[in-house]
Symmetry: C2
Subunit: 530 residues, 2 copies
């Protein structure tokens, strides 16, 4: 041996050990569903996690077993993550918003042996218990009684050493909520989770240190709460969790606990703005708001920036752990005008070390980073899926690239901009029309509540856009009004060939437009050749 | 296969690829020794690095070979690092300030095959060329002629793919400048270097992003310039390099290039203060100054803080890549008074994820983190040495701990405070007296230029402190003055039994007090029993 450096397996329990040792007194606050508030800290979470691991082992769980949760964000959920992983198990966060058939499929596919759940989801458990034969033990997270989490962990003495093993061992399982077919499981590994956490604390992503007080609104059952429970431990951040996402509750917590970092989907902030307008109460300590799931409207970004907050778009997916890009401040940010700042902040952000992105055309040819060429977005990196859980073949191509299903443009400065989902893009005469751009422009029209653009068959152009519009209550906006408005915002050849008004638009369990259903419904809709 | 995440070897060339791809236009500025300034950027450095690797391969270098440099901080040095590593080689940064015997030993021990050097070090090369038989090729870094770096790289076409391999392959070799025995080589690995770089960009260490403009004053031949050339590429920071460290030159560069981050030993800032006092010119954009090598005096920290700069002590050593701890701002920093802030900033900082520290007594018993118990400081982690280059046995104990040779106290909040070097601590009646604390207190006495405290034999106490003082020019400070001053700053039983005045104190090549020589010189000094 020539010499060299120390061995150090990138295993997740090192995070909770570090947090307990170096940041043991930093708080982990929970506001429960019933309004109670409890305070723990990283030392307390670590102690609970160790006992949770010990309890899991006592009831017969073994390394590699999947441990399910059906729960909101709280300290017991956090301890369960680290406990299940520390026991060598795989924490599987089940999304309670899925439909019953999906819940039955996912839990069965994962073969979860234990389920930790919140009382709020008792109806789901009662309904599906008979259809979840793999689950041998149920533990109620927010119940201090005999079957509750506290009793489960307090029965142990904490004399337990984390299970060791290779860093490529699995540690977490999250299912995508696909719009077609069965959900697919992404099996995160200790190593991928650790590298992702190390990347996330960087100033260009979550900018996390022990000064941060983070309130993740994104649920822990959604793409690992974007990795915050891991990155926060690494940085020694304080956590503030809330089981309810009412704006008044969140705003009050944010001010009392001096929350500096928050993260969630755009809808959350619409609710917060209504609360601010109605109450005059504003979150006063926020410095960074990370927005993902879907794109934040420009006006939302502007309003948050006006509150002194840096707004960072996050782009990613369950398959990318989930951080793919993050909106970071460029060197010349302070010299940019507000409009230029908003232009930049409205895009999906920059590429952190580890992630590589490519935009390719239909033939797989790599498109230039010219800020114009839109194509299928491919991603690769250490925290990107290689093979779905239980799948027979890899989900990546020969070059190691995973097709995100998004259509995007890469700008010369490295900024990525999503323009559509690839299955939603409208292909008109060989050119692509972004359904998302049409929808965003349409909802800017007075009287439009929501809009969906889909491609329908056209004899000459192959496909042309059809726009489905849901009016706001009491609005009588017309098709001509909508088209006139669109004419100011998109290219002329993008204008929909027809605008139809509907009473409602279908959505997935996670609130996304269900375009597959719309395409099915309007499959036989005929546009005139023009 | 159950499923899982993508393969991704933690290899250093990924850093330069990332920087070139995502931050290609961010500048790398060099102020050369002759006053010229040149500008490149990450794309340019990457292109030079690729050609440098190609050139090294052409002249017969192979993976694993050591490539030496004897150079200051500049863009060509940076490109050589990435070129040598990208070729699969091991970059070996030779410290030109070492004595000839050490230079001969180190280059021979490393068996360097190529040496890239600055013209400023031509005298060293001329003097030692015959004693460096392993070196087959010399390249002058700052010479545009036939034997220069530009000619070396411009002879290649850049059609070169980085050498791939295991992430535990070596990539860099740095020698410690020990005060006794031969220097020892620490062989950094791709993996350790990458994890260290990922850790360094965190807000709690260097807080690096693509907004940062970094001027590392710490030389690239000293402990890998504290890892900045790697972390800066990861973050896409701009680099400003200077081959000379005159304060006027640095201050001018800092203002013209809007330098936000700098890093160096305390002495640099003493010079900068003199420049500021004389010229009125102040570095105006600095946000973070990282100070390592030795402890910054409290007054220095206070003055930098008064300039709006966050001062972060870094503690580490060549054996720790080198970051062991970094001074980060605690959550309640803004509520702390200035004196409390200075108290904290004067200590060595907090422990980043990856690093573990322990303080043990003479029997190896672990001491509490009570802010009082001083003991030998042990360290372990993924970027800590396991075995020195070419050594026959590991440098760590059975628990994986490396003995730093420092004496330290750990505080309950996780802050680490160095109190002495373990071989310098004065053992009086079973209790430890910090020689460093005595010296720091002594230099606070009017008229004292420098002071050294060593233990000398004492019939009753085993050892007692002897203080050697060098007066400032024209000062006539007396032993009684010094003792009176010390009485206000240290415990009574710490007061030196004798104060002797000397004309000069011996130093190592890197400017540290050479205590071994002093102990040797005063070995027979006899104190009275008291």
């Amino acid at each position: 041996m020539l010499g060299g450096m120390q061995d150090f397996a990138l295993r997740v329990p090192r995070l909770i050990d570090h947090a307990a040792r170096e940041h043991g007194r930093r708080a982990v606050v929970t506001r429960w569903a019933d309004g109670r508030e409890t305070r723990s800290n990283w030392a307390g979470i670590a102690a609970d996690a160790r006992r949770c691991a010990q309890g899991l082992e006592r009831i017969g769980c073994r390394p590699g077993d999947r441990i399910g949760t059906l729960a909101m964000n709280h300290g017991h959920h956090l301890a369960t993550w680290y406990g299940a992983i520390g026991m060598g198990g795989v924490i599987h966060t089940v999304n309670p918003r899925l439909f019953d058939e999906q819940l039955v499929y996912i839990v069965g596919h994962a073969a979860d042996r234990v389920l930790f759940y919140d009382r709020a989801f008792e109806p789901i458990v009662e309904r599906l218990r008979d259809r979840w034969p793999t689950i041998e033990r149920y533990v109620v997270m927010d119940d201090d009684g005999r079957d509750g989490f506290r009793a489960f962990v307090d029965a142990e003495d904490g004399g337990y050493a984390w299970v060791e093993g290779p860093e490529r061992d699995p540690c977490m399982l999250c299912y995508t909520s696909g719009t077609t077919g069965n959900p697919k499981g992404v099996l995160y590994e200790h190593r991928s989770t650790m590298l992702h956490a190390m990347a996330e604390v960087a100033p260009a992503v979550f900018d996390l240190s022990s000064r941060a007080v983070a309130l993740p609104i994104v649920p822990m059952f959604h793409a690992a709460a974007w990795g915050l429970p891991f990155a926060g431990a690494l940085a020694g951040a304080t956590f503030v969790f809330s089981c309810v996402n009412e704006p008044a509750v969140l705003c009050d917590l944010m001010n009392r606990e001096r929350v500096t970092h928050s993260a969630g989907v755009p809808t959350v902030w619409l609710g917060m703005f209504q609360h601010i307008d109605a109450s005059g109460e504003v979150p006063r300590h926020l410095k960074l708001v990370s927005i993902g799931g879907s794109a934040a409207p420009r006006a939302m970004i502007a309003r948050l920036m006006g509150m002194g907050v840096h707004v960072a778009h996050l782009w990613g997916m369950t398959e990318t752990s989930p951080v793919g890009t993050a909106g970071s401040l460029p060197a010349d940010w302070d010299e940019m005008g507000l409009e230029a700042q908003l232009d930049l902040a409205s895009k999906q952000g920059q590429i952190p070390f580890g992630i590589e992105l490519q935009v390719v055309d239909d033939d797989g040819g790599v498109l230039p980073r010219d800020g114009v060429s839109a194509g299928r977005l491919l991603v690769r990196g250490p925290w990107v899926v290689k093979r779905y859980f239980g799948a027979d073949e890899d989900a990546i191509d020969a070059g190691g690239w995973f097709d995100t299903g998004d259509v995007a443009v890469l700008h010369p400065d490295g900024t990525m901009q999503i323009t559509d989902r690839s299955k939603d893009v409208i292909k008109s005469g060989g050119e692509w029309i972004s359904s998302v751009d049409l929808e965003n422009a349409a909802v800017g029209c007075v009287g439009v509540a929501e809009a969906a653009a889909i491609g329908v068959p056209h004899p000459r152009w192959g496909e042309r856009p059809l726009l489905l519009v849901m009016r706001k209550p009491d609005s009588d906006v017309s098709a001509a009004d909508v088209l006139r408005h669109l004419g100011d915002h998109v290219a002329k050849w993008w204008l929909p060939d027809a605008v139809l008004f509907v009473d409602a638009l279908p959505h997935t369990a996670t609130g996304k437009l269900l375009k597959t259903a719309l395409r099915e419904r309007y499959r036989d809709y005929r546009l005139d050749a023009a």
